[in-house]
C-alpha cells in the first residue's frame, strides 16, 4: 500500500442472511485503487459490483475482510466527506431548482452562503449546465438531470467519485456524449473514479483499469490494466487495441459465467 492508494480491499466478503439461506454477495475480493485511476466494475447482475461500491461508500457493511478508503475506514471516510456518490437515477428533488439541488449537500455540510453560490456556479459550468440554475428538474431532459446529479456529487470537491451505473437509463447517443464529457472532467479534475456498468464498450472506453466480476459468489475474475492513452476521442473505439481489450473483457465475463453453471 502506497501513499497513492485510495481504496484498498483485502479478502472482502459480504454475506446477506436471507430466508432462503445465505447469499454471498462478495467473497474474498482483493483490490487496490490508486489515486487518479478510473476503475470500471463490470459483470452480470448479482456479481456484487454495486455491493462493492456501496461497501466503499459505507452504505453496506462487509461481514469479512478489510477495506480502507483514503487509508481510513469507509465510515470515517464518509464522515470526512471523502467521496461523492452518483446513483443510477438522478434523484433530484422536484421541489428544488437545479441550483438548489446542487446546493443541497453544501447546505448540509454547512458551507457559507457565498461559497455555496460560487461552488454551484463552478460545477454547473463543469457539467455544461450553466444557465440552468433556476430551472426545475422536470424542465430538463434525462441526460441533463444526470449531469446535474454529477455536478451535485462534485460540488463539495471530494477526491473520489463513486458512480453506480449513472448512465444506465439513458439512450446510446446521450450516453456516448456523457461518457466523453465524463472523461474530460476526470482529466481536468484529477479525481479517482469508481464506475459500475454493465456495458463493455463503456467500461473499455472510460477506464484505466477494468475489474471483471462474476456472480454466486460475487468475486473478481479478471483485472485489466488498459493500455489506451488518457486522451480518448470517441473513435478510439474502432482501433484494434480497443477491440482487443473489449474481447478480453467479454472472455472474462463468459468464463465467470460458465464456471458458475
Amino acid at each position: 500500500m502506497t501513499d497513492q492508494t485510495v481504496i484498498s480491499a483485502k479478502e472482502l466478503s459480504l454475506t446477506f442472511e436471507t430466508n432462503d439461506g445465505p447469499v454471498h454477495a462478495l467473497k474474498d475480493v482483493t483490490l487496490t485503487v490508486e489515486k487518479g485511476d478510473f476503475v470500471s466494475f463490470i459483470g452480470p447482475s448479482g456479481c456484487g459490483k454495486t455491493t462493492f461500491l456501496r461497501c466503499m461508500a459505507d452504505l453496506e457493511h462487509p461481514t469479512g475482510g478489510t477495506i480502507t478508503v483514503n487509508g481510513v475506514s469507509p465510515d470515517a471516510a464518509r464522515k470526512s466527506r471523502a467521496y461523492g456518490y452518483v446513483f443510477q437515477a438522478a434523484g433530484l428533488y422536484p421541489w428544488r431548482t437545479i441550483g438548489g439541488n446542487i446546493r443541497l449537500p453544501l447546505e448540509i455540510m454547512g458551507y457559507p452562503k457565498a461559497e455555496q453560490d460560487q461552488r454551484v456556479a463552478r460545477v454547473l459550468d463543469l457539467v455544461d449546465l450553466a444557465g440552468f440554475e433556476k430551472k426545475f428538474p422536470w424542465q430538463l431532459s434525462g441526460g441533463m438531470q444526470q449531469r446535474a446529479s454529477i455536478a451535485r456529487a462534485l460540488a463539495f470537491d471530494a477526491d473520489i467519485l463513486l458512480m453506480d451505473e449513472p448512465f444506465g437509463a439513458l439512450d446510446e447517443i446521450v450516453r456516448d456524449h456523457l461518457n466523453e464529457q465524463l472523461l474530460k472532467l476526470w482529466d481536468r479534475t484529477d479525481k479517482t473514479i469508481c464506475f459500475v456498468t454493465h456495458s463493455i464498450p463503456e467500461a473499455v472506453y472510460l477506464s484505466t483499469k477494468i475489474v471483471v466480476m462474476s456472480p454466486r459468489p460475487g468475486r473478481i475474475t479478471d483485472v485489466i490494466e488498459s493500455p489506451l492513452p488518457r486522451d480518448r476521442p470517441l473513435d478510439i473505439r474502432d482501433t484494434p487495441e480497443f477491440i482487443e481489450i473489449a474481447h478480453r473483457v467479454r472472455d472474462g465475463l463468459r468464463a465467470g459465467h460458465s464456471d458458475a453453471i
Binding site: 461508500a57 459505507d58 452504505l59 464518509r78 464522515k79 466527506r81 467521496y83 461523492g84 456518490y85 446513483f87 443510477q88 437515477a89 434523484g91 428533488y93 422536484p94 421541489w95 428544488r96 431548482t97 443541497l104 449537500p105 447546505e107 448540509i108 455540510m109 426545475f136 422536470w138 463539495f156
Partner: protein
C-alpha cells in the same frame, strides 16, 4: 368556465327533484288541512301550499333561502349580525371550535406521525390504538368528553375543540406516516453519503416529500373537524353553534331552521376545504410540484 354548464345542469336537476319531493312529502299535511277546512285542493293550490308550510316535512329551497337570508344578511343590515338568532353568530361559534380542533388535531397528527416514523416502538404500538380510536362512534364518546372536561373545570370552546381534534387527527396521522415514508431508499442513502444528521434528513427530505400527502389529509381533517364541532355542540344543551341550531330545530319541529343550519354547515365546510385547496395550490406551486 367550460364546467359552468354541467354544474348548472346538475344543480338545477337537484332543485327540480327537491321541489318535486317537497310537494310529495308535504302533500298529506296540505290535504289534511284542506279536509278540515272543507275545501277541495286543485293542483296549483296544492303546490303553493306544500311550498309554503310553516313546519313542512321537507322545506322548499326558497323557504330555506329566505330563512338563511333573514338570519344572516338582513340581521347584519339591522346591525344585529351577532345576536343569538343570527346564523352568522352560530356559524362563528362552530367555526371557532372547528378551527381550534383542526389545529390541535393537525398538530397531534403530525407529532404522532413523526413518532411512528422515527421510533420503532411507537410504530409497533401506536397505530392500532389510532385505528381503534376511530371505531368508537363519536356520538357515544362526545358527551363523555364534555362531562369529564366539565368535571375538571374546562368548558366552553375547548371541549368541543377536543372532539374536533379526536376526529381530525386520524387522517393526518395516516397521511403523514405515508408522506414521511415516501422518500425511497436511494434518497435516504444519498443523505447518508453526505453524512446528513437525522434533523437535516427530516427538514430537507422527509418533510418536503410529505407535502402532497399532508394537504390531502388536511382536507379530510378539516371536514372531520366540522363534524366533530357540530356533534360536540349537541350534548352541551344546545346553547350556541350550528349543532345547537340543529338540535333546537328538531326539538320544536322547525325543519326550515334545521335545513338552513345544514346548508350553512355545508357552506362552511366547502369554504374551509376550499381554503386548504388554495393553500395547497400556492405551496405546491412554490415548491415546483404542481
Amino acid at each position: 368556465m367550460r364546467s359552468i354548464v354541467p354544474i348548472l345542469t346538475v344543480v338545477s336537476t337537484l332543485f327540480v327533484i327537491w321541489y318535486a319531493a317537497a310537494i310529495g312529502l308535504n302533500a298529506p299535511w296540505a290535504y289534511n288541512k284542506a279536509e278540515r277546512a272543507g275545501v277541495e285542493l286543485n293542483f296549483a293550490a296544492l303546490v303553493s301550499d306544500t311550498w309554503s308550510q310553516d313546519k313542512p316535512k321537507l322545506p322548499a329551497p326558497h323557504q330555506v333561502g329566505i330563512e338563511i337570508w333573514e338570519t344572516t344578511v338582513e340581521m347584519v343590515l339591522d346591525g344585529r349580525g351577532f345576536s343569538k338568532r343570527s346564523l352568522i353568530y352560530h356559524s362563528w361559534v362552530t367555526f371557532s371550535a372547528t378551527a381550534l380542533g383542526f389545529l390541535l388535531g393537525t398538530g397531534l397528527g403530525i407529532a404522532l406521525a413523526i413518532g411512528i416514523v422515527y421510533n420503532r416502538t411507537m410504530d409497533m404500538s401506536v397505530m392500532p390504538w389510532v385505528i381503534a380510536s376511530q371505531t368508537i362512534p363519536i356520538l357515544a364518546i362526545a358527551p363523555m368528553i364534555i362531562v369529564v372536561l366539565n368535571a375538571v373545570g374546562i368548558s366552553g370552546l375547548l371541549p368541543k375543540a377536543m372532539i374536533s381534534m379526536y376526529l381530525s387527527f386520524f387522517p393526518v396521522v395516516v397521511g403523514m406516516v405515508k408522506g414521511l415514508r415516501s422518500p425511497g431508499p436511494m434518497q435516504l442513502d444519498q443523505m447518508r453519503t453526505w453524512s446528513a444528521t437525522p434533523a437535516q434528513t427530516f427538514w430537507r427530505l422527509r418533510l418536503p416529500s410529505s407535502m402532497p400527502y399532508l394537504f390531502t389529509s388536511l382536507k379530510i381533517g378539516m371536514a372531520a373537524s366540522l363534524v366533530g364541532a357540530i356533534v360536540g355542540e349537541l350534548p352541551t344543551g344546545a346553547v350556541a353553534g350550528l349543532g345547537a341550531r340543529l338540535l333546537a330545530g328538531s326539538y320544536y319541529g322547525q325543519t326550515i331552521q334545521i335545513w338552513s343550519a345544514l346548508i350553512m354547515a355545508a357552506t362552511l365546510a366547502a369554504v374551509l376545504v376550499g381554503l386548504i385547496g388554495v393553500l395547497q395550490r400556492i405551496t405546491l406551486k412554490r415548491m415546483g410540484m404542481a
